[in-house]
């Protein structure tokens, strides 16, 4: 997903035109649409497995330029995932990462979907919601952020295989109204 710079500038222009008086800028980013658009909204899992189950890191564009000195009040993540299990019994969870660099799997996940029980041939739908760790907040007002997902599967009987299929993933970033560096 290449950054369409002029789109961001357009958003920035609108923000600059209206950001006056006391108030906040709120960015509701539909991250799922970016992942779905490039076919990276699902992730196969396998347990036991010597390798981590991750998607290729994806780039998300859309926030405005000129937010450098703004203060992020809060960032929340919400979404839903279907664990479509094929074989085995165990638990499957998900970690979702956001960062300004592509090497994000080495860092703290933005949200952890607690492992849920899975059984052969069954689908477990799991909504999730959480607040992003404060250490990540300020990074998320970058014009470009990266997103990644890692599945955490553990087997209690047989080999657990299946697919974690995102059905929604949104970032809500609340920024204090200050657009000038």
């Amino acid at each position: 997903m290449r950054a369409p710079r002029r789109s961001r500038l357009l958003v920035a222009a609108f923000a600059l035109a209206v950001a006056c008086g006391e108030g906040r800028l709120i960015f509701d980013v539909d991250v799922f649409s970016f992942l779905q658009g490039v076919g990276q909204d699902s992730l196969p899992y396998l347990a036991p497995s010597p390798l981590p189950d991750t998607i290729p890191v994806q780039q998300v564009n859309g926030l405005v330029t000129g937010l450098g000195s703004s203060v992020v009040e809060s960032v929340t993540v919400s979404g839903a995932v279907d664990f479509v299990n094929v074989t085995g019994t165990g638990t499957v969870g998900l970690k979702i990462y956001f960062d300004t660099v592509p090497t994000l799997y080495a860092d703290t996940p933005a949200v952890i979907v607690a492992p849920v029980n899975v059984t052969p041939g069954a689908t477990s739908s799991t909504p999730f919601q959480g607040t992003v760790p404060a250490v990540l907040n300020q990074r998320l007002i970058n014009t470009t952020i990266y997103v990644g997902m890692r599945a955490i599967a553990t087997a209690t009987s047989g080999t657990v295989t299946g697919k974690a299929h995102l059905t929604a993933l949104r970032l809500r970033i609340v920024v204090q109204d200050k657009l000038v560096n």
Binding site: M1, R2, P4, R5, R6, S7, L10, V11, A13, F14, A15, L16, A17, V18, A19, C20, G21, E22, G23, R24, L25, I26, F27, D28, V29, D30, S33, F34, Q36, G37, V38, N61, G62, L63, V64, G66, V71, Q176, D177, K178, L179, V180, N181
Partner: protein, 441 residues
Amino acid sequence: MRRAVVLAGSVVGLLAGVAPAHAQLSFDARRTGMAGVSLSRDGALGQYNPAYQSVPARTGRSAKLTIPIPLGLFQVLKDSAAFDVHKSYFNAIALAEYVMHPPLFLEVKKVPEPTNDVEFTIGRNALLVDLGSSAQLVPTDRFGFGGENRLMDIGPTIKGVHVGVVVWEDHEVGFQLDSALLGFLRLQDSARTNTLYGSDGDGLMQGGLAPTLGYSGRLWGDSTRGIYAGAALHYYLGAAYASVRGTAGIVTGDTLFAGSNPVTPTVDARVNYSKAGNSMGHGLGADIGFVYVTGPVEVGLGINNLGATLTWSDTRADSVFLDTTTNVLASQFVANHFKSKTRLPVTYVANASLDLGTNTTAGAMVLNNGRGTSIQLGVEQRVGPLALRGGVARDQRKRVQLGWGTGVRFGPLSLDVGFLTHSSALSSARGITMATSVSIY
């Protein structure tokens, strides 16, 4: 540089909401207390109605000099920290208010500012903006500002005949958003792919000199009952002008926030100009005015810039467009040394006043300067050295404003205070300005 752009953008973006809010406010607290009406044959009456040059001033009513007391400046100094764009409490609305409304007088009640949370919903193929209360800033009709200013008029007046030279300038700016952009900004429509979001805009700047021959005098009657007429013929000599008319906007691609087909800015305009040093623009224009005075009743009508069209014989035209490869504005020669015409806006003022004979005087004024009509009604009641005033006005944005005030006179001096409500496009609530002035009779 970016700060300047941000600042300018914020201010210009707010002009629509702020500019007309104080149309009635004058430096004279007496007029402020009557919602802008002048009962002393000065102000807009003399400016737009040449007949008033010969109407004698009302005895004891017209001040030789009015000096505003700038209490508002203290307020501005106190708020000056809010102008620092580096601070989190920097407020572009407050700055725009100060730019458009020179803060000479005290704001005893400020127009409440909206707390405008602004929400952007962004998806790979979605962009939706909820401006909250700031959506009211987005003009739905054609928005424009500007007008003609006569910077000075040099020359003698002998027995009603005026010979002089007027230094003038005229500037007009206007734009109108197209329906797609209007829906996006004001109605929270989601941005669509492969769509043009644009606006039509135009602007004009011109200036020069105008040798003037005018006459004003009483056609009939005496000092208590008579008809006065005034006319002035201006031969406009334009030193330079530039005008632009065109469209600007963006065209979205197949995908809004992804893919290799981003939005494409588009600018398509034509600029006509005649530089200083080229042949001057030439044109004739006239002002006319009448005043009828009969005892306590006075009625006047004045019109400026009748037929004022300038012809420029040495005009050049360029086409201006956005070079999408370099993202900079580029121009291309279209034509040169051709004839073009520009106009000056026609302004009219109609007024009436009535002296009720009980130390009560009422007046009304309708003014249209090409950017909308304002209507003002006011009354003054004098009780000994005390004057009580009140008025109501409909401003250029068609909002009703109220004025009230008082004054006390000691011989040749009077101290006056006037209050006037005003509003901005941002809020239905009104603010109140308190004007204070000293007049010398």
